[in-house]
Symmetry: C2
Subunit: 295 residues, 2 copies
């Protein structure tokens, strides 16, 4: 037994280790039964009821509202219009339990709600879950989400997966939904793994025609990111040059002509290509060469 | 990674082990800064502010109020007039932390508040603290408190300490504050440890005179609980019978006379005492006899 610092009176501190868990469990039961709820979070047509104090204790967004002298302090409703109701409910449940179940179906709306409401740990959990679930079906959306929420490590992971698996990704519908900037970022990478550069030209044409009205103007920029000198001369002459889109833009025609001239040079003169032509092999292709040499 | 029961979709549960502790800590900070407090507990002239939901999660008294349709649900003040403000504040702090510091100075008011507010564990902690601190200075109040709050085990402990140490307790001022029923309960015990039965007579006289107006009437009942045949004949004749209090009550005089007759009998005739006289030795005295015999 400890003695008080300034007297001989006995003092003892008792601590209930499971007390916080028990209080939170009881707060959850109060919420589940609608007892003492004093705030409605309005998301679309849905109202999510809770206790202001608990929200302020679990979310820095609410803490900041309620610590200020905002009129929200006394408001019985707070509009969270931009979020998804299911995502907000899942995050509020986490605040009342410390437990969250993530699926591919909810992780995006949870991440959005958790980021907006600024709830500790949840962004890390979403990042962990997305990182564990990068696949052909998810990699493009994970890459976009990682970029949106500044998750740098996840962004690197998703991008590496996309680059490594681009031969398969190129055949999927998802790739046609990519924004222009993101597609261009991929096409410019040395690490982009494809069997043949020709496949990238076909992707650029298909991607542009998927929404031709809005995308036509970006065709020249995308074409310029391709490495035409890595294609077969016959393909460039017979397939590329007959593509109507390409013929709409003089700069595209001129680039293709320049590549044809280059490809027709004798091998010895290919070391110094014209400035506008990227002749650097993609790393995926290089790897194949090394394997062949080593065999 | 677990798979969802009805699909192949990946599911993962994340759990923050220190989440409840962190939420409770934040709730405490909200209370410390007066943020979102929505109830004042009124104790005497003091107002103790808190959050209704937290009180309902930590105290079954508040849970019961707020789970009902009492008008208290919407009241911004609750009167707790019968309690001590310091005791209530300490209990409310425990609800917000799970930690309580007990001293001999606060344990009684904390116990009263914890019992009224029905807060889990606190009564056990008070019992444990009181049990660890039974001493000459505390034993009588611990015994009373244990009785008041139905702490049977503590009551047995305190009573045993009192009986074992009655030779010293008899000299303390505290003993004169005992209620009549409690003093009588002690005097009737075989286990009451005193050097001489005569000391108990002196205690009864002193106790009665401490508040003679209110206590005079109980003198005969207390005297009847004494074991006069265990006293010295000379003491009974010279000291007891000259006590004015005793002479006020014919039944006391008659009891004393009977004891004197008994004490004057030859040793051989002492085996069958009159029905009104308790001649059974106290266990403390018996123990001494055994020690002497064994020596």
């Amino acid at each position: 037994m400890a003695e008080d610092e300034f007297s001989n009176e006995p003092v003892r501190e008792f601590c209930t280790s499971d007390h916080p868990g028990s209080v939170l469990q009881n707060l959850k039961e109060l919420r589940d039964t609608g007892t003492l709820c004093d705030i409605a979070l309005v998301v679309g047509s849905r109202e999510i009821f809770a206790h202001r104090a608990v929200l302020a204790a679990g979310s820095r967004y609410f803490a900041s509202i309620y610590r200020s002298d905002y009129t929200e302090t006394h408001a019985s409703r707070i509009e969270l219009g931009s979020l998804d109701a299911g995502g907000v409910e899942t995050v509020v449940q986490y605040i009342y339990t410390g437990v969250i179940k993530l699926t591919l179906g909810n992780v995006h709306v949870v991440l959005a709600a958790a980021t907006h409401l600024d709830v500790l740990h949840l962004k890390d959990y979403c990042q962990q879950f997305l990182s564990d679930n990068i696949s052909l079906g998810t990699c493009l959306s994970v890459w976009a989400v990682a970029d949106l929420y500044d998750m740098d490590e996840l962004k690197v992971q998703a991008l590496k997966f996309i680059l490594d698996n681009f031969t398969k990704i190129i055949t999927m519908e998802d790739v046609l939904e990519l924004p222009m900037e993101r597609l261009l970022e991929l096409l410019l990478k040395d690490e982009l793994f494809v069997d043949k550069e020709e496949a990238l030209f076909e992707l650029v044409v298909k991607w542009t025609k998927y929404d031709v009205v809005n995308r036509r103007a970006t065709f020249p920029k995308l074409l310029a990111s391709l490495r035409i000198p890595l294609m077969e001369l016959e393909y460039v002459i017979n397939n590329m040059k007959s593509e109507p889109l390409l013929n709409e833009f003089p700069e595209c025609l001129s680039l293709t002509d320049e590549a044809v001239s280059y490809l027709m040079r004798p091998q010895l003169l290919k070391d110094l290509p014209p400035a506008g032509l990227n002749t650097r092999p993609r790393l995926g292709t290089l790897k194949d060469v090394i394997v062949v040499c080593g065999g």
